[in-house]
Every structure is written in C-alpha cells, then in structure tokens.
C-alpha cells in the first residue's frame, strides 16, 4: 500500500513538471493604449499587468528593470510593447492562461552576454579571501577565492550593482556594466576592518553563512577554505562543537560519528542532499579527501525535508565541489606510513555552448603501519607484556573517479547533469576489536559503478530538483589464510587441509552484490520572499544477494544464507513550510513520513527460511523558530519528533549467529535544540551556544539471546542533554582563532529488565562526554620568499571515559579519578596538538603545506586500546587554476 502511494506521488510530481506549456495565446495580440512617463521598466511592467489583467514572468537578469522609459503606445499589441521594454534584447513570449512568460531568445540574444572578472583587495593591498559577491536584485552571487579573485560568466549585458561583503571589512556596493562579448574587469577595494563599536551591516552573506543562520541548526564547515592543508575530514569535523569522530586505526579504518550525544546508525550521511547508500564506501568519512568537497554541513537535531532520511540524531551532508565555473584543481600529498593521496577535480564550460563537463577523482594508498602498544602474551607463560609493535597488515588502496557532463543555464534547465563514477577499494584488516589477535591476510574489497543524473530548474517562484541514481556494488570479505601471524608479522603456515580462518573458526570468502536505485524529488514554491513550501520525496530500493565460497552448512541441506536475495525499499516524504514573521522571526514547520518494505531470508535458530516481510510506516514532525535580535545575533529553538528505521542487519540478522527480529520497533526521538548566535565582545568575535536535549525511545541494541545467538532488540530509552559552544574571531589582526567545548550527558532510562535496573540513569559507556578544541591561524600580512604564509595549530582535548557501564553512584566525577572503581576499563584523557604551515607563491596558483600531527607524540586513544598514531608528517602540494 505504502509503495503504491509513493509511486503515485512520484508520477504526480513528474506530470506536474511536464504540464508547463508554452502554447501561444491571443492575449499577446491584445491591443492597448498606455503611456509611460519616466517610470522604470519594472513599474511599466506592473502597469501592463494591471491594464491587461495578466501576470508577467521574467528573469531579472534579462532586462535592466531600473531603466526609465517615457513613451506613449496607441493601440499597440501587448507583444510589441513588451518588446519595446526589452529594448534590443530578442525575446520569446509564451503564455498559459493569463500568465505570460518572457524568455530571452537564446539564439539571438546569446551574443549579448558578457563576463565579469574582479579582484578584491583590502586597504593595505592584501587579498580579501572568500568575500561574498552578490548581484543585487538577482539572488545570484559567487564567493571570491582565497586570493580575492572572482568571476561571473555569461551574464546578460547590463548594468548591475554588486554587493561585496567579507568578515572584518566594511560592506561595499559597486556599480558595474557588463558589455556584450567582453570580460569586464573590476577592482574592488574594501576599506579597513570594521571598528569594534560599529554595527556590522552585511548586505550579502555567503551561502555557508546563510545556512549557519538558518532556523535549523546547521554547522557549516568551510572545507574549501582549508583545502590547501593536509588535514583529513575526521580532523576537520573534530574541530567543530558537538561533533566527535573516532577512528579505529589509520585511513579507511572503521569510524564512529557522534553528534550531540547520538551516534552510529542514528547519524545519516548525505552527498548533496542524497543519502550516501548508493555510493557505497566512496564517500566514507574515513576515506574521502577534503579536496572532493566544498564544505560539510552538520545538521543537529532537525533535518530539513529535502534531506530525505530517517536520521535520529542528526546528519552530515557533503557539498560537492563546483559552482559551475571553469576550474582545475590538483593536489598530491605524501606522508608518514607510506601514505600517498592524489586528487584531481576539474570543471569546464565548453565555450559558446551551454555544455559542460567535469571530473572528480582521488587515489589513496597507505600502509597505515604506525607503531602502537599491544599486550602480547609470553609464548610460554601467556602473561601479557605491553610491547610496541608496527602494524603490518592495515594497508588501504582505493581510487574514485566521477565523470559528469551536461548543460546549464538553458531556458529549460538550470542544470541537467549525467554522471558516471567508479570506485575501487582494497583494505587489509590488522586485528580484532580488543587487539588481542593480529591478522595477516584478511582483506576486503569493494567495486562500484554508479550512474546518476540531476536536473534543476528555478523559475521565479518554482524550484524543482530531481535526482536519480543506479549503482552496482560488489563487496568481498576474504578470510582464507595460509598462515597465522604474530604481532611482529611472523607467519606460521596453516595445515593446507585445515579449514581455519583468522577471524572466524572457518574460512570464509563472502561475496555480496548490491543493486541500488535512488530517486529524489524536491519541489519548492515560493509564495513570496520569506514564505515557501517544500515537498520532498526519496525512494531507495536496494537488492542484495551473495554467497560464501567456503560456506559449510551446519545441517543437512542447509543453504548459504547470503545466497538468499534481500530487498530493502525505503520511501521518505516530507512537506515543509518556511516563513518569516516580520523582520525578526523565521520559522520552519515540517511533517515527514517514513516507510520501508524489507524482505530477506534469514536464520531462525536451526531453521533457515524467509521470514515475513517487514513493512513499517511512521510519521514525524519538525519545527524550528529563529528570532533575530540584530542582523548578526539571534536565538533559535527547534523541535523534531523523528524516527530511525532499523537496518536489514537489525531486522534479519546475519544469517549466522545474529538472529532475525522482525518485531523490532523503529527507534524514535524527541530532539530539542536551543541556541544563541551573536557577537561576543566585538564584531570580530562570535559565539555560538547550543543547549540540546534528546529523548530516545526503543533503543536498538545487539543482545546475547542464548548460548549461541545474539539478536537486535528494543531496549530501554536514552536521555541526552548537553551544551556546546563555539567562539570564533580574531585575537589580533591576522591571528584568528576558534575554540569549541562540548559536554553531553547521555543516560539510560526506563530500563525494563529488573536485573539491570541498577544502571537506571547511568551514563552510556564508551562515548566521550566532554571534549573541546582550540585552533589558531596566523597569516602575516608581509610576504616572505615572494609568497604568503599561513601558520596554524590545533589542540584537541577529550576527557577520559569508561568502556563498560557503571551505576550512576559509582561514576567518577568530571576530571575525577576513574581508577577508584576497581576493574574499570578506562579510555584515558587525550591531548593532541597538530601544527601546519602553508606557503603560496604570489605569482603561482600553488600551495605547499606541511603538517605535523600529534606533534607532542603522546599516546592517545580513540577507543579502548585503540591507539592513534604517534607523531606523523604530511606534505601536500596543491595547484588550483581558476578563471582570471
């Protein structure tokens, strides 16, 4: 039933999109008499609308609306009058009812386009990095580069007012005239930093800043600004408040993301608003280089409907590179542990056409052979001794390439893009969870082919975005060793007749094939500026089948559970109303519907069979309100009732020792955020303060079921409250800082099992609950060695936390001694310092970066015994060619 509704909605939406017709109509031949006496074109058009009782639609960029006109028309057709108003521009007129669409005749008018190229400097001639350049009245704009250069291509020849703004500078407006077939150059000088007592008036804000100030709390991490650095995405994210990313090893190792107290499956990951499932591991946080994204959006609490997903506690959205302008970016990084990283991204608008092509790609390899301490048993006594070893089987080799092509800025599409991507991963596995057993031959691979298409159309009040993708993924997990290994990498041959695996009792080579269809539709209707309605629908269909080459049936006639095909279909819809009330209040209200259908064969004790399909439907709602005190200071409160639907593994088990549980209930949560954003003591220093509360019901945990089996079950509830704060600003000129601090109190509540009630209100174990970060960047004004320099350092702190749960009464206090609890396993307090240096020769678009991670070479742990690398080095050379 739910599938039918979803398909109906999809079809309805498509029909709606297609029914916009441009059929001719006699209204254009309506003859009128009208006089314009010095009115602007905009006013003249309104007079026409009134006179003929019609509605005119047009693009602000196609006509100079401020041009004054004085002319009388006697019994002249509407078609001719509009033509006069457009001057020499060739137009096409289309009608539907009494609506008249005025469209620039591309063929005849395209030569009347020009380009704008500019450079923004400050009082002292310094480049103003990443300034926002907006074309007033058009809603369009760009972000200047780090070198202050920007360009806007293929815009209609006309006069424009550019509004330029950048933190620390007085906003500025500049009048420019774009001439036909010319590239107009404009040099913009922005006056000095805003005085400490002045009110900051920012006429235009960057897209990132606007998102930061959305009624929904979004942490926008501007990755583009740090792409010259050798930094990894987990490091970038750990510098933000309320976010903790923990890794179990080097590049490619398993990662846990915690946002405002919730983690694991509660957090969903997106790429450009699309759930990442179809991408496989290509955009895994532990692999993806910073060069592949412009920025990272972290949603805390409420998710807007266009992110169609059943996230319980937040989401991460990677925003891909590219603003439609020509560019070429290449980088090569080399570092400790034989790490190499190559990135190549490019975008080319084919001259004189609307076509473009682009490439995004990376290649990564690393041995991840850092040194760490492990407990090694004496060969005779088996007593443990802590010994430093070098990891010897933790390497990763992976590459990704995505080719795209399409058209942009046509009369029928702002963007139509087709992409094909390929992903290849080979990764070794070094040890078990507790680091008691080294592996020397286990590896996993993934090969993916991903086809996707994207369509966007923005016409006045209507915005339509369509996305479709099909991906084929093949994964292999291989545990077919010929040897066993000790921690020093010494191999001992296994009897060839043995069926012994390294990880499990028996050998295994599990192959799985996934076919995933993804489609998303987003439609927005803007009733007026500040009032819009969004509809979003996401459809995902994943089919899975596989086999284990070494599967040994444990009963007669038993079939390999992986060989049974599985289906997991997800439909998520949402409707969102965004509105402002006066100048100070902005609100968002959304309703969502989550639906899944899943079917899979699985094992129920000694019986292997297909269990009943699971069909779940649930509703959620979200609301957010922002109250602006000034243009740069506001309060924000949000609430969401959200749902996370269990995964196939949680519903159906693994066909081996994790049993199915089709009676699982979705996890649900009440999420509340209360925040303040504003100036601290000067206009340069900002504070972002958030209080958050989560009430999670029906937590899903894997529990021991009986002597052999485990099962995912709904257990207990959780309550989370916490506070996070981020302070950013400039200590002294050219010395910027960012400090964050997070405390999150995550507690188990409503424990049903009387045999566990001692843990009522106890802290959820094995999750950091107090952590912070301090980053400082210094960019001297003076050039040295004919180039600019940037020095930065970052200090990360994580308070100790405990591996296993403890009754609340036995919990060590914050900064207390956890060792007082006998037998407690502690993940110790962590202090990490990274330092880096970036050099950019003034005449070359080249950046050279050197970074030292864990500069103090301290022993640091992300999990129990999971040691992070000691001091290591990375060097990165970047080349970025952008339009001049």
């Amino acid at each position: 039933m739910s599938r039918g509704i979803d398909q109906f909605l999809l079809v309805l939406s498509l029909i709606w999109c297609c029914q916009f017709s441009y059929a001719q109509n006699n209204i254009l031949d309506h003859r009128i008499t009208i006089s314009f006496n010095g009115q602007s074109v905009k006013e003249a058009l309104k007079m026409l609308e009134k006179e003929v009782d019609c509605y005119l639609t047009y693009s602000n960029l196609d006509v100079d609306l401020s041009r004054k006109i004085s002319k009388q028309f006697q019994n002249v057709s509407l078609r001719e009058i509009i033509g006069e108003l457009w001057g020499e521009r060739q137009i096409k007129l289309r009608t539907k009812g009494n609506t008249i669409g005025i469209i620039l005749d591309e063929e005849k008018s395209s030569p009347r386009q020009g380009n704008l190229f500019g450079i923004i400097t400050g009082d002292k001639g310094e480049s103003v990095s990443f300034a926002t350049v907006a074309i007033k009245g058009s809603g369009k704009g760009v972000i200047a580069g780090e070198d202050g250069i920007f360009s806007i291509n293929q815009i209609s020849a006309a006069k424009y007012t550019l509004a330029i703004s950048s933190a620390g500078y007085e906003p500025k407006e500049v009048l420019v005239e774009v001439r036909e077939n010319q590239t107009v150059k404009v040099e913009i000088n922005m006056s000095g930093a805003v005085s400490a007592l002045d009110e900051v008036v920012v006429l235009g804000k960057s897209v990132e800043q606007k998102k930061r100030e959305d009624p929904i709390k979004i942490e926008v991490i501007d990755v583009k600004a740090i792409q010259s650095q050798s930094i990894s995405i987990p490091q970038v994210m750990n510098q933000a408040a309320g976010i903790k990313v923990r890794q179990a090893g080097g590049i490619g190792s398993p990662t846990v993301i915690n946002i405002n107290g919730l983690q694991g499956q509660a957090i969903r990951i997106f790429r450009d608003g699309i759930p990442m499932d179809y991408m496989g591991r290509a955009f895994d946080i532990n692999i993806l280089p910073v060069d592949q994204v412009d920025n990272i959006e972290v949603y805390k609490g409420v998710l807007p409907v266009d992110l169609g997903a059943d996230a319980l506690g937040g989401a991460i959205n990677y925003v891909s590179k590219g603003n439609g302008q020509n560019n070429l970016s290449a980088s090569y990084g080399i570092g400790s542990f034989n790490s190499h990283q190559l990135n190549l991204t490019a975008h080319l608008n084919i001259p004189q056409t609307k076509f473009f092509t682009s490439l995004g790609s990376y290649y990564i390899r690393s041995d991840n052979n850092f040194r760490m301490d492990v407990q090694i048993p004496d060969p005779v006594t088996r007593n443990l001794t802590e010994t430093e070893i070098e990891r010897f089987h933790d390497g990763i080799r992976t590459w990704f390439a995505e080719f795209s092509g399409g058209v942009a800025n046509t009369k029928w599409a702002d963007l139509l893009k087709f992409s094909y991507a390929n992903f290849d991963l080979n990764r070794d596995l070094q040890n078990n969870v507790f680091l008691t057993r080294p592996y020397g031959e286990i590896f996993e691979t993934e090969r993916s082919s991903i086809f996707s298409s994207q369509y966007e159309l923005n016409r006045r009040k209507n915005t339509l975005k369509l996305f479709g993708a099909y991906s084929k993924r093949r994964t292999v997990f291989d545990d077919t060793p010929k040897n066993t290994y000790d921690w020093f990498g010494n191999a001992t041959p296994i009897n060839p007749e043995s069926n012994e695996g390294e990880l499990e009792r028996n050998k295994s080579r599990r192959r799985q094939n996934f076919k995933t269809w993804t489609a998303r539709l987003v439609y927005q209707y803007a009733f007026r500026e500040g009032l819009s309605l969004n509809f979003s629908h996401l459809f995902q269909d994943e089919r899975r089948v596989g086999r284990d080459d070494f599967y040994v049936p444990i009963s007669i006639g038993e079939q390999d559970p992986l060989s049974f095909p599985g289906t997991y279909v997800k439909n998520i819809s949402g409707l969102q109303l965004s509105s402002d009330i006066g100048k100070r209040i902005e609100t968002i209200f959304a309703v969502k519907r989550y639906g899944i259908f899943a079917e899979l064969a699985t094992q129920r004790l000694n019986e292997l069979s297909s269990i009943d399909p699971v069909e779940v439907s649930n509703f959620g709602l979200a609301s957010s309100l922002k109250y602006s005190i000034t243009s740069d200071a506001f309060f924000r409160i949000s609430y969401e009732r959200t749902t996370r639907i269990p995964t196939t593994l949680e519903y159906f088990g693994d066909g081996a020792f994790t049993l199915s549980n089709s009676a699982l209930r979705p996890e649900q949560s009440h999420n509340i955020n209360l925040g303040f954003y504003g100036n601290l003591n000067s206009k340069k220093n900002k504070i972002d303060l958030i209080l958050f509360y989560r009430a999670v019901e029906d937590n899903v945990f894997l529990r021991q079921f009986n002597i052999f089996y485990s099962q995912f079950q709904n257990l207990d509830d959780a309550r989370v409250w916490g506070a996070e704060t981020a302070v950013k600003g400039e200590l002294v000129p050219n010395l910027k800082f960012q400090a964050t601090l997070t405390y999150q109190d995550i507690r188990r509540v409503n424990i049903e099992n009387p045999g566990e009630r001692i843990l009522e209100n106890s802290r959820q174990p094995n999750i950091p609950y107090f952590f912070g970060n301090l980053g400082v960047t210094y960019k001297p004004e003076k050039q040295f060695l004919n180039g600019s320099w940037q020095v930065y350092t970052n200090y990360a702190y994580t308070e100790q936390f405990i591996l296993f749960p403890l009754p609340k009464e036995l919990e060590p206090p914050l900064f207390g001694n956890a060792n007082e609890v006998q037998g407690a396993s502690i993940i110790p307090t962590q202090h990490l310092i990274d330092v880096g240096l970036t050099y950019n020769p003034s005449k070359l678009p080249i950046w050279l970066n050197v970074e030292i991670n864990n500069a103090l070479n301290v022993k640091a742990f992300d999990g129990y015994r999971i040691q992070r690398p000691g001091r290591f080095f990375r060097i990165k050379l970047s080349y970025r060619l952008e339009p001049k």
């Binding site: 407990q375 048993p377 005779v380 006594t381 088996r382 007593n383 443990l384 507790f434 008691t436 057993r437 069926n499 009792r505 028996n506 040994v552 049936p553 444990i554 009963s555 007669i556 129920r604 004790l605 000694n606 049993l659 945990f701 894997l702 529990r703 021991q704 079921f705 009986n706 002597i707 089996y709 099962q711 257990l715 099992n753 009387p754 045999g755 566990e756 009630r757 001692i758 843990l759 009522e760 174990p765 591996l803 296993f804 749960p805 403890l806 009754p807 009464e809 036995l810 609890v821 006998q822 037998g823 407690a824 396993s825 129990y864």
Partner: protein, 429 residues
C-alpha cells in the same frame, strides 16, 4: 543483606583485630611449646562471593563479597569492594579464597585471578591470556587446566598460584586417540567437547567427532560417530590412563562452573548435559546426567538419567549438587523454545534419587526464567541454593534437604545473580 560502609569498615576492623589476636595467640602458643598435643588448629575463615550481571549488552557485572551468607535485600552499590567483571554470565570457579574468571575485567579472554582478602576486599591478580578461552578446571594449588578454541586437542596447563601457563597436553600424542581419529572417514576429525574436570586425582577431558564439512560441529551426518569420549589423564605424568566412552550421546555440555559437574561425597563424578550437540542438525534439548564412579575408568553403565524420559522433553535442566543419594536439578516445566518461552518463569527446583527414581518438585520456590550458565543450584553448608530470576524476584532461595524447609535466602536489587560461591581463606600459621 544491606551493609552500609560504616558498618563494613567496623567489621573489617574487627576482623583485623581478631586476626591479629589469632596470630599473636598462635605465635604465643607455638613459642611456648612446639610439641603441645593440645594445639588447636586455627579455623579457616569463610567468605561468600556473589557474581551478578548488571548489563546484558556488554555482559558485565560485579563480584560482591560478604563474610557471612548474604541475607535480606542486597544492594550491590553498598559493597565498597565491588569489582567489575566481564563475561559475567559465564562465571569462573572458586578455589580457596580466589575466583578465576574466564576473562579480564576489560573483556580480554583468558583466566583472570581475583583474590578475596580476609578484610573483605578484592585484589585483581594476574592474568593468563587465552584467546577463545572457554573452560578451565583446577586440580590443586599448583595445577590447573584450560582449553581454548584455538588449541585443537591440546589441553593447556597452568599454575593457579603464580598464574602462569606451564605447558600443554596434546591428546593427539596418545596413540589411543590417534587410532580413533585414523579410523574416521574423510572430512571427520576429533575435537574438544565441552567438559573438562580435574577430580578424583585425575583429569577428565571430553572429546568428540566433528564434521569438517559441518562447520566443525558434530552432526548426525554419520550416526556412527555420535559418541562421547572422555580421556582420563594422570596429572602426575600427563599420561593417558584410559578413554571412557558412551554411545549415542555426543556432548556433556557443561562449563565447569555451571553447576553441571558435581562430585558426591563418595568422590563419584556426575556430568550433566543440557542438549545434544547435534541440535544444529536436528538434535534437541536433552537434560541428561551420566556418572563415572570414583576410581573407575569408564562411565557407569548402570546410571543414566534422562529428563526427556522422566520429566518433559527439552526441559533445559541445570543439573546440580549430589547429596545423600539425591541429585538436585532446576528444570523447565515445558519444552524450551528459544524466542518463545525463554523468558517464562517456569523453571522449578526438582530432586531425584541417584537411581533415577522419585523425581519430585520442591514446593515453595517460585519459578525462574531460563537460568544462566552458572546459575544452577549449588550446595553450600548443607543447603541447596536455587537462583530465581523473574520480573518479580531476583535472588536465591534455600532448601534444607534435612528438614525440607524452604526459605528466601536473599534478594538482589537491580542486578541479576549469576553464581553464589563459598570461599575459604588460607589458614594463617
């Protein structure tokens, strides 16, 4: 029994005071006359330990210690010496004043020593690493045995006093064992069973025929191999004494601490299994007890108690202590169906004569859900203690075989009792 900290400290002080007096007195007496025929042997101090599970997800809990049997309602938080343990539902064994657990407090597999001191505190001792650790047994102060999944027919030996592995006994080094294996068809091989017991001055190690094409588990693919073997080894020489065997019964299934191995006052060894290991391929739950008489080298053919015959099929019983010709069990009154009635509180105490006759339900003790591995009945100081775990009660009941009295021994507040143990402090000379 709720012991507040102040009271506990007073008790500890008193204990110390008494200990000093005892030592001083002992020294005084001994220094006066070493040959005094009237010398009174110092009495060993007794402690009681209770292992509780507090979290099923991480399978962790606490060891709680008291110098007298627990009574009343126990609040685990009131025990200042409470010590975190991992693998809480697979309790280890008590020996002297020490508890040997099957994992370290952080969950690392192996043997972890916890020593209960005379002042009531717990000292976390040394650790022997054993990946895939599943069972152990202790013969005396200096000799213990364990096996782990990776050890493949090689019993590991260790010294429980200094907590070091001391060597191994490879069952395949015995010609009698290799003869059995050589006679097997291709794709079948020998592997450890579950039972390992050091008793009666000997070491008993179960092994069985595994199907290499059946995940390494025994199957009914060849019923000729549905045999239980028990290697009987001389600890003094590590040589094989004999191989006992029973047909048609492939596993005794019992963790040493799981109340499934019991020794009578006469030294006879009773082994109880919960299920037929061919459960994977069609076998089922089967509560069955077999016996090797003291000094004998084979199973007692005249003894075979099968609850599927005298109670109900699949009763998932916990075989318990043997006392005065009776065996005490905890049996489910219906066939256990995993995922269905596992949590029903219908496991009740029963007693049966060692000749298999007179199975009787002990009335007055409420039903319990399916017990954990180690929470079967135990005998302490002549009383049989039954754990009861249900929505309304978690704790122990006691049964007095002499008087027939049934009493609520103690309740546990907020945690699941797993195993009750009696510890004996070493006598200070």
């Amino acid at each position: 029994m709720k012991i507040n900290n102040r009271l506990k400290k007073q008790l500890i002080k008193m204990k110390k005071y008494h200990l000093y007096l005892l030592i001083i007195s002992a020294i005084s007496f001994s220094s006066c006359n070493n040959d005094d025929e009237n010398e009174v042997a110092p009495e060993a101090e007794i402690s009681f330990a209770l292992l509780v599970q507090t979290d099923v997800t991480t399978n962790t809990g606490f060891i709680l210690v008291s110098d007298s049997m627990f009574t009343g309602t126990i609040d685990p938080l009131s025990f200042g010496s409470a010590t975190i343990v991992a693998e809480a539902d697979r309790p280890g064994i008590a020996f002297g004043n020490r508890i040997y657990q099957l994992a370290a407090s952080d969950g690392t597999q192996g043997i972890q020593e916890y020593t209960v001191l005379s002042n009531g505190s717990i000292q976390i001792g040394s650790f022997i690493s054993a990946d895939g650790m599943d069972e152990m047994t202790i013969l005396n102060e200096t000799t213990g045995y364990y096996k782990a999944i990776g050890n493949q027919m090689r019993i590991q030996t260790f010294n429980p006093s200094i907590m070091q592995r001391t060597g191994e006994i490879d069952l395949r080094s015995f010609p009698e064992v290799t003869m059995i294996e050589d006679a097997l068809e291709e794709d079948f091989s020998l592997g450890f069973g579950n039972s390992i017991l050091a008793a009666d001055g000997r070491l008993f190690v179960q092994f069985q025929v595994n199907d290499d094409n059946g995940g390494g588990f025994p199957t009914i693919r060849n019923l000729d191999y549905d045999i239980l073997y028990m290697a009987i080894i001389d600890p003094a020489s590590d040589e094989l004494i004999d191989i006992a065997q029973i047909d048609g019964y492939s596993n005794l299934n019992g963790f040493p601490a799981a109340s499934l191995h019991n020794i009578s006052a006469e030294g006879d060894m009773y082994f109880t299994g919960i299920y037929d290991v061919t459960i994977f391929s069609g076998g089922g739950l089967e509560t069955r007890t077999v016996r090797i008489l003291s000094g004998a080298n084979d199973f007692d053919d005249s003894f075979d108690i099968n609850m599927n015959d005298i109670h109900v099929y699949g009763s998932n019983g916990q075989g318990g202590p043997v006392l005065n010709g009776k065996i005490y069990y905890q049996l489910k009154d219906k066939e256990l169906v995993f995922g269905s009635n596992q949590g029903d509180p219908d496991n009740f105490p029963y007693v049966v004569n060692t000749d298999g006759s007179g199975l009787t339900k002990i009335s007055g003790i409420p039903g319990s859900m399916v017990p954990f591995f180690g929470s079967g009945p135990v005998e302490i100081d002549g009383l049989i203690y039954y754990s009861v775990i249900s929505d309304t009660f978690t704790g122990y009941y006691s049964y007095n075989p002499t008087t027939g009295d049934v009493n609520e021994a103690f309740r546990v507040d907020g945690a699941t009792p797993i195993k009750l143990m009696k510890l004996i402090q070493p006598i200070e000379n």
